[in-house]
């Protein structure tokens, strides 16, 4: 039987060690965080490899580690659909977004959308979509954190939520982007190390031949684990999910924000290359973990501990490496959540302080000190909201909220970002309506879908049978953006396009 959920010395020591080291880094970073540029973008001082790890750290949430390993251990092939979907957006970021974004903006992706447009309408719409994405992502992480810590350490849910919120607040408030970047780097390193060690232990049982592992899974649980199951009930659903995962990655505000932490476009490009390799490797490893857990732990045991299968990787660690390794993996999972929450909060603070306060309320003429002060107040506010939401949604099934965040990012942020960079006739009104359309259509469709209308609100029948809104919300955002721009042309935007192109590709002019 498992010792999961009992106080585990190694887990507690590892986790406290992680927190102490990261707080030490925060203390060091705090002395280097005196300006907005340092608070939001680490002063552009991060190297390509560092940013690659940090991007990977921001992106590899506990949902990918525990969630995908669990999904694979439970349903086999279906889990693979998610891991592929989570990766294929990265090349798009490289080919279309990273370099122009770095050259054109300063702190948020909205800088790029609003570059040659009227600031107010664009910034307001983008802040709405950013804060919506960040909130749903935060809820999913906070509720996940509370549940996981309860399962793994036996700590009360509420305490776990408060601990995550407070520690994250300290990182962001005092250490800004510099501390957050280092937290992500350490976390990514630990996560990759833990997952790789675990995968090596699994493969060691099969003469280091993955085929032998897969063959054992077929023998053990039947050929069905190698085939698509109920996740892709119909093609429309599959395409819709794929669209949201792929384009959503390229529209996540906390990921896009990371490109401002490096010195130039070339470094931004190199950092995505690092990140994609690390994340791709990680998903291949997760796959070994999932099938390893299926064979070595057994599906019955995994489901008995947690219906969602989320404890597959920790259980596998216990079977292969004993209580000590279980403790280490548990601590890594907790650290993972902590780091992701910090990144999200920082991007929410940037939307509030830079986009809303700086550009909407102060017309872009905000004083340096004031902007930093507003950013810090926003950070405290967001931390309180995150803790509050975590407590409010206790016991709810919030797994769909990550999907919702991806859908909104794919439909509200990605289309506007792409059109602003490539289309001269894109207008302020077009950008605003496109972003609002993406956000609202995603929200409404999910509200009426089986996930919320039936599972959450307990209605008998969904109003729309589609679970993933991407196939409607992404085209809707493009169509509205194009139609509105064509109906009401904006000469100033067309005139500004040349200068934007120049700066997007050659970089800002020297001062």
């Amino acid at each position: 039987m498992t010792s999961l959920g009992e106080p585990n010395v190694i887990a507690i020591v590892s986790f406290i060690g992680f927190v102490l080291i990261t707080l030490g880094i925060t203390y060091w970073a705090a002395r280097r965080t005196r300006t907005s540029a340092e608070f939001f973008a680490a002063g552009g001082s991060v190297s390509a490899a560092q940013n690659g790890f940090a991007l990977a750290g921001d992106y590899m949430s506990a949902a990918s580690f525990l969630g995908i390993a669990g999904l694979v251990s439970k349903d086999g092939f279906d889990g693979l659909i998610y891991s592929i979907g989570f990766l294929v957006g990265w090349p798009l970021i490289t080919f279309l977004i990273a370099e122009p974004l770095r050259n054109l903006g300063t702190y948020t992706f909205v800088d790029v959308v609003a570059f040659r447009l009227r600031q107010r309408p664009v910034r307001i719409a983008a802040a709405i979509s950013t804060l919506t994405v960040v909130s749903f992502y935060l809820i999913a992480q906070m509720v996940g954190a509370g549940g996981l810590v309860h399962l793994m350490f036996g700590l009360p849910y509420e305490l776990a939520v408060v601990v995550v919120g407070v520690v994250m607040l300290i990182y962001v408030l005092f250490g800004g982007m510099i501390a957050t970047t280092w937290v992500q780097i350490i976390k990514a390193g630990l996560l990759l190390l833990g997952a790789t060690l675990l995968a090596v232990l699994v493969l060691a049982q099969f003469n280091f031949n993955p085929l032998a592992l897969f063959g054992e899974a077929v023998k053990h649980d039947g050929a069905a684990v190698m085939a698509p199951g109920k996740l892709v009930a119909n093609p429309l659903e599959a395409i819709s999910l794929g669209l949201a995962l792929m384009l959503g990655t390229a529209g996540l505000p906390h990921i896009l924000m990371r490109f401002y932490t490096v010195k130039d476009a070339k470094t931004a490009r190199r950092s995505v290359a690092y990140a994609t390799s690390l994340i791709g490797f990680f998903y291949l490893v997760t796959f070994v973990l999932g099938f390893g857990a299926m064979v070595l732990v057994g599906r019955k045991t995994i489901i008995a501990v947690d219906k969602g299968g989320n404890m597959a990787a920790p259980l596998l660690a216990e079977v292969l490496g004993g209580t000590g390794f279980l403790g280490f993996i548990s601590a890594v999972a907790f650290a993972t959540i902590l780091a992701v929450v910090a990144g999200l909060t920082l991007s929410g603070a940037a939307a509030l302080a830079h986009d809303l306060w700086g550009h909407v309320l102060r017309d872009g003429k905000v004083e340096e000190r004031e902007q930093l002060r507003v950013a810090k107040i926003a950070t405290i506010g967001l931390a309180v909201v995150a803790i509050g939401l975590g407590l409010l949604f206790k016991g709810q099934n919030v797994a769909f909220m990550v999907g919702l965040a991806f859908s909104i990012a794919a439909s509200a942020n990605f289309p506007a970002l792409l059109m602003s960079m490539t289309w001269s006739r894109f207008t302020s009104l077009g950008a605003m309506t496109s972003m609002l359309t993406g956000t609202i259509v995603s929200l409404v469709l999910i509200l009426l879908s089986p996930t919320v209308w039936v599972d959450l609100f307990k209605n008998a029948e969904p109003i729309i049978s589609l679970k993933n809104p991407g196939i409607f919300s992404v085209p809707a955002a493009f169509i509205v953006g194009i139609a509105v721009s064509l109906l009401k042309p904006e000469p100033a935007s067309v005139q500004g396009f040349r200068a934007a192109q120049d700066r997007m590709h050659l970089g800002p002019r020297p001062r």
Binding site: L80, I84, W90, P228, N234, Y283, L506
Partner: protein, 94 residues
């Protein structure tokens, strides 16, 4: 000079869109295969140990960094020097 910048921009978007199209086609091809032909996707190979779908999926995961490497090679060799030249023309010697 504006014309040179425009040419460069056009080339970059062309390379970017071709590589994007490769990734999108490969990914949605996979999704459609999974959705429409579950039997082929689930067919076992390699001594009944692994399915075609799993192998293709792993190949897609490997394809992503490979495409990025191709792009990075092009950018390092051809794009960066041109950007540098145009930037010097615009801003004067660094």
């Amino acid at each position: 000079m504006d014309e040179d910048v425009e040419k460069l921009v056009a080339r970059r978007w062309r390379v970017g869109s071709v590589l994007t199209a490769v990734m999108v086609t490969a990914y949605f091809g996979f999704i459609l295969l999974v959705a429409y032909d579950k039997d082929t996707t689930g067919a076992l190979i390699a001594g009944d140990r692994v399915s075609i779908g799993i192998v293709l999926g792993a190949a897609l995961i490997v394809l992503a960094p490979i495409l990025i490497a191709i792009y990075a090679r092009w950018a390092n060799r051809s794009y960066d020097p041109q950007v540098e030249a145009l930037r010097k023309k615009r801003d004067g010697a660094p």
